[in-house]
Amino acid sequence: MVRSARESVVTTTSFRQPMLRVDGLVKRFGGFLATDQVSLDVCAGEVHALIGPNGAGKTTLVNQLSGLLAPDAGRIELDGVELTFLPAHRRVAAGLSRCFQLTSVFRQSTVLDNLLMAVQAHAGSSFSLFRPRSAEAALRDGAVALAEQLGLETLLDRIAGALPHATQRQLDVALALAAKPKLLLLDEPMAGMGPDESERMVELIDSLRHRMAILLVEHDMDAVFKLANRITVLVYGRVLTTGSAEEIRNHPQVQEVYLGSEEHESATVHTPARAGT
């Protein structure tokens, strides 16, 4: 049922305006071209997956988009606003939010305090020095609402660092969602997860797609083929091709450089199962 809804999204996205537009991005580390003239766009309501072998420059690209790295050339635009040279925190204000490849939460704090930190960032100034934060009921309400959205409401008093890996991942996503982003950058959200946990993360991402544009960097091909409206393949810092899941699966060069014989098999094994539903 959910799947049929997704199919309909796939067919309509091509008419939408791009939310994120990346144009000719270049990043050099010494003589090494980590990002080589990368251009791509992500539309509102679309999950755009970024795949590529290890060392293809996926995380380097994500770090440039989120402002942790400065590109050497090119342009990044979100909803018509240029982000290329904005510091990371200003990009969040412009509507770009991210998750990290290595889960990045406040490990010593409770889940509630984690969420409060995220909500506070988008609810007025943090340069208030005198009023106790605990007196601000609105912040707490916002944090609880966020927890409910992600099914974390029973874990509010738990220390984040002691939670299972998959739950920490969910919290990581919750922190990113507090910004009510126009574009969500997900850097390998399924990394280190078991099949059941991956499936739940897929459902979570699927439930978010109608509210924002999502750029998904992921190694888990099952997840990518389930979620992505379009897929961009990055090889040696360069865009090899962009296309629908079907186009990517049947692209001869992609099979050669990226999927490889072994992974290609697993992808084709997956295809009949999907067609059968």
């Binding site: 989120s66 402002g67 942790l68 510091p87 990371a88 925190h89 969040v92 204000a93 939010s97 991210r98 990290f100 990045s104 939460v105 406040f106 490990r107 010593q108 704090s109 305090d113 409060l116 930190m117 995220a118 506070q120 960032a121 988008h122 100034s125 943090s126 340069f127 208030s128 020095l129 005198f130 009023r131 106790p132 934060r133 605990s134 601000e136 922190l175 990113a176 507090a178 910004a179």
Partner: protein, 326 residues
């Protein structure tokens, strides 16, 4: 949990303030007026150490140049007294503002670095200040500068002698520490600890990390400057030795001893350190030795500082650890 601990510690704080306010009468009655000056010094260093704890314990900024800001505050007093200003309130306010300004300038550069580089650059700036005042002949250079008369205290307290200055210092320290305590629980304080725990995430959440840090650094510098201005008044003398890097290290040790990132860690650390220094000085000329041993003991057995043992959970953990060890 936090609120319960908070309300019980609030009563303790009130009791401590009342005891400190009554102390000059008790000391006079017992004929121990010397200790009025001693406790006054403890109060001033409590302020300096607390200001460092704010950026070190809550902000995660290991600054090794805090004595530089104490020195700016002290020399602001010297320069103004030399120019004929006599009001203590004016002197202290200017001392605080001058140090805050210095901290803003030094922080603006230092806070672009991290880790060991931050330690080194704050140390370097404080040493630069030290050498500037060593070479300033007008204000005594190496020999320092003696204030000929004590500045006028506010509220017509001038006739009160040692106790009057004590009470004014106590009032100022209490006000600043109260504001500090509020700041810790505020949005700003939470943001600061967030940056300490996970800077990258804070920036990805949209926090202006650099600006938050700089404001904290400036505030801490201002409070340290006020401590320096009061210390100048207390001693009646200011020398460049005040901003030597060993002084910065002493303040840092006070914070570590008391408990980094614990609300009253700086104040408790300053009190314990100065009390022990005084006690050991009575017994031996080589008082550095037992203090050094104590530091090693703290590092080994109470790494979260003395104040961690005072909190209910901390004490339980401490005794539990002892029980396990024996």
């Amino acid at each position: 949990m936090e609120t319960k601990e908070h309300s019980s510690s609030r009563w303790l704080v009130v009791v401590v303030i009342i005891a400190l306010a009554a102390f000059p009468w008790a000391a006079t009655a017992l004929g121990q007026e010397f200790y009025i000056g001693f406790v006054r010094r403890v109060l001033i260093f409590s302020l300096a150490a607390t200001s460092l704890n704010f950026i070190l314990g809550y902000g995660g900024m290991v600054a090794l140049g805090h004595a530089g800001f104490v020195g700016i505050g002290a020399y602001a007093v010297v320069i103004l007294v030399d120019a004929g200003v006599t009001s203590a309130l004016v002197l202290w306010t200017v001392g605080m503002l001058a140090a805050a300004l210095g901290a803003a300038a030094i922080g603006a550069i230092s806070l672009r670095t991290r880790g060991v580089y931050f330690i080194m650059i704050t140390l370097a700036f404080a040493q630069m200040l030290y050498y500037v005042f060593v070479s300033l002949r007008t204000y005594g250079g190496d020999d320092g500068y003696t204030l000929q008369t004590r500045p006028n205290l506010p509220f017509g307290l001038d006739g009160g002698g040692e106790s009057a200055l004590y009470w004014v210092v106590l009032a100022m320290v209490v006000v600043v520490l109260w504001a500090y305590s509020r700041a810790i629980d505020s949005r700003f304080g939470h943001a600061l600890t967030g940056i300490r725990d996970n800077e990258t995430r804070m920036s990805a959440l949209g926090y202006p990390v650099y600006r938050l840090r700089l404001v904290a650094f400036t505030l801490a510098g201002g409070a340290a400057g006020m401590a320096g201005a009061m210390l100048a008044t207390h001693n009646g003398y200011v020398g460049p030795g005040l901003m030597h890097w060993t002084q910065s290290a002493t303040i840092l040790i006070m914070v570590v001893l008391g408990g980094t990132g614990r609300r009253w860690g700086g104040a408790i650390g300053a009190a314990v350190w100065l009390l022990l220094e005084e006690a050991f000085k009575l017994g031996t000329e080589y008082w550095h030795m037992p203090l050094g041993l104590l530091l090693i003991a703290v590092a080994l057995y109470a790494p979260r500082g003395v104040s961690a043992m005072f909190s209910s959970t901390g004490a339980k953990a401490w005794f539990a650890a002892r029980g396990k060890a024996s």
